[in-house]
């Protein structure tokens, strides 16, 4: 609504300026991806040719063919899908329950405990690598997807919980009270009223979670030793060898890696924006 108002009273020069800023921002974000895409379609010897060719003289899929035929890339994709999907499902499921509890019920220690959860975010991931490594070793979960998923869950849960806590808090209390008077049990209220109302929030929380697990590198590199278990970011690193870099493979692989996250986001961005705007009004 306020967007409409601002465009309606905007002068011409401000409008031009606005579009210029958007264009610059878009360029900054899109240029690297475009460069990856264009270069990955060039024959190997033309990738670093000077002056660079902005539009390849000859379009080739040789890197893509090699990627899927000669490397473990398909394996990496499957691994990444498994890890990211299971991380998202487990983290968001737990966060939905935790967020609802913290967001809509008052109990002793509610505030302290929820803040404590958030505090864990103060530590950079690098700091927790060693303790996590020890824990996974102790659980015999090193070099396994289950262990990596567990680590990602620990990493994402504070944020997903807080995101969902915010979405639940946005539901007016009286709606839940009305349902209580209407005769629903607490679980029915959760399932029939609260959950459907935070679906956009769940969608954006899931995007956050999926993208994080999809692109995470350090933990995956540390905890996975077996090449067949590598996720995409670690797998891509394999194309950087000691004496040479397989630029063609690296570029093609990078592009395929970015694609799913971008596509998911495109489909769900409507929810993402809505939920960001929604939580914004709450402050």
């Amino acid at each position: 609504m306020s967007m409409d108002a601002s465009t309606a009273y905007e002068s011409r020069s401000i409008k031009v300026l606005r579009y210029a800023i958007i264009a610059v921002a878009l360029l900054a974000v899109m240029l690297p991806i475009l460069w990856i895409l264009v270069s990955s379609l060039k024959p190997s010897d033309e990738i670093f040719q000077i002056p660079p060719q902005y539009i390849p003289r000859e379009v080739t899929l040789e890197h893509y063919n090699a990627l899927f035929a000669d490397t473990l890339f398909v394996r990496y994709i499957i691994n990444s899908v498994i890890v990211a999907t299971l991380t998202t499902i487990s983290s968001v499921t737990l966060a939905v329950f935790a967020g609802y509890g913290w967001g809509k019920y008052t109990f002793t220690g509610a505030k302290t405990s929820s803040l404590f959860i958030l505090m864990s975010q103060l530590f950079p991931a690098v700091v927790v690598i060693i303790p996590l490594f020890e824990m996974l070793k102790w659980l015999s979960l090193l070099n396994s997807h289950a262990g990596l998923i567990l680590a990602y869950m620990l990493l994402t849960l504070p944020v997903t919980t807080w995101m969902l806590k915010g979405f639940f808090e946005n539901i007016p209390d009286n709606i839940l009270r009305a349902a209580r008077i209407d005769g629903l049990s607490e679980f029915q209220i959760f399932r029939e009223i609260a959950l459907p109302l935070v679906l956009p929030g769940i969608a954006s929380t899931a995007i956050y979670c999926f993208v994080l697990a999809w692109q995470e590198f350090i933990l995956a590199l540390t905890f996975l030793q077996d090449g067949a278990k590598y996720t995409l970011p670690v797998g891509l690193m394999g194309f950087i060898e000691q004496n040479q870099i397989e630029w063609g493979l690296l570029l093609a692989g990078s592009f395929v890696t970015v694609l799913p996250a971008a596509v998911t986001f495109m489909f769900l961005q409507r929810y993402f924006i809505r939920s960001l705007a929604g939580s914004g009004t709450k402050g």
Binding site: P172, N174, I175, R177, R180, I181, G183
Partner: protein
């Protein structure tokens, strides 16, 4: 439904030592300024909050430990609290789906009956966000009616509507309550709503019940200064002074009561007069005292005259006079009070003399 009695004490704010009995089929209005405990009271009856002490009975049954859905109540909230993701029809029948074993056809006919009663049949397929405030209000009422409750609890149901719609809905609500003959507890901060709608009014302030009575009683015989000032619009004018039986002295004027019953009070006190009972004399030498006119509001059939008396009265001194009396801003006017219309309050603000009915 016979009686709701509750006596409880909530330590900090909330409601203290409240004792009300609501009669079967009665329309009781809880009224008071915000934070007076009226909504808390309603939530206690609804079972959304637990009393810290005392007992709540509905239909002779102690309900302190009974869940909201088993109390035979239905509630309408100020913000309507409709389920935003469900259609109007689903909003109406949602509770019934979970609490009764009515089959689909029975639910359907129940929904249609209610929709017809409230004139919302054509909205049944819409989502709440597509409705206007007044329509949402009707749906919220319908959801309450659908439960076929023995008590209706309404929490400021009209305060989000515009003034015109509020008046219409007020009349409709009254009619509806009469038709359904359901005991109703209605919370509002609007004394006009309270006066026009309630069979009885319970005036609350600071968690304490100030007075319960018919609109006439609380208007004409307020038990204390708070009720006297809160009920009636504009508010009663109050002067501080000393009362010596039939002699009242304030810094501004002296007033003697010649007839009427002897109230027997002596000491510091207050004298009150409703704006309607004030007499304004355009000849400034008439009357008890004189004062300059600050502003005059012409309302058509009557005029509200505001006088510059702020240091002598609580709030602002206002007189409601006939349309023919229209002094100009800055004019000095004489002011007098007819004896039978005067209220007297003792040092603890308890009323010792009321306006006598004519």
């Amino acid at each position: 439904m016979s009686d709701v009695t509750k006596v409880y004490g909530e330590a900090t704010i909330g409601v203290d030592d409240l004792d009300i009995e609501v009669r079967d089929g009665e329309f009781l209005v809880l009224v008071g300024p915000s934070g007076c405990g009226k909504s808390t009271t309603l939530e206690l009856v609804a079972g959304l909050q637990r009393p810290t002490g005392g007992e709540i009975h509905i239909e002779d049954q102690l309900v302190n430990d009974v869940k909201p859905q088993n109390r035979g109540i239905a509630m309408v909230f100020q913000d309507y609290a409709l389920y935003p993701h469900k259609t109007v029809a689903d909003n109406l029948q949602f509770g019934l789906k979970y609490t009764t074993d009515l089959d689909k056809a029975e639910l359907q006919s129940r929904v249609e009956d209610i929709a017809e009663l409230l004139d919302i049949t054509e909205l049944l397929g819409d989502k709440p966000t597509q409705l206007s405030g007044g329509q949402q209000q009707r749906v919220a009422l319908g959801r309450a009616i659908a439960r076929d409750p023995s008590v209706f609890l309404l929490d400021e149901p009209l305060s989000n509507l515009d003034a015109k719609l509020r008046t219409t809905m007020r009349a409709e609500l009254l009619e509806l309550q009469e038709d359904l003959d359901v005991t109703t507890i209605y919370v509002t901060h609007d004394q006009t709503e309270a006066m026009t709608m309630g069979d009885r009014i319970a005036v609350m302030d600071n968690g304490y019940l100030q007075q319960v009575g018919t609109p006439n009683e609380v208007y004409n015989e307020p038990e204390n200064k708070f009720v006297a000032r809160f009920i009636g619009s504009p508010s009663m004018n109050i002067f501080t002074g000393t009362i010596e039986r039939s002699e009242v002295t304030t810094p501004l004027f002296e007033f003697s009561l010649e007839d009427g019953p002897d109230h027997g009070y002596q000491g510091p006190g207050k004298i009150g007069i409703r704006p309607d009972d004030v007499e304004i004399h355009e000849d400034e030498s008439d009357g008890l005292f004189r004062a300059p006119v600050r502003v005059i509001e012409e309302l058509g059939s009557e005029n509200l005259v505001h006088l510059d008396l702020d240091s002598d009265v609580e709030g602002e001194f206002i007189a409601r006079v006939d349309e023919r009396v229209r002094p100009k801003t800055g004019d000095l006017v004489g002011v007098s009070f007819p004896e039978e219309a005067v209220y007297l309050f003792d040092g603890d603000d308890k009323a010792v003399k009321h306006r006598q009915m004519r």
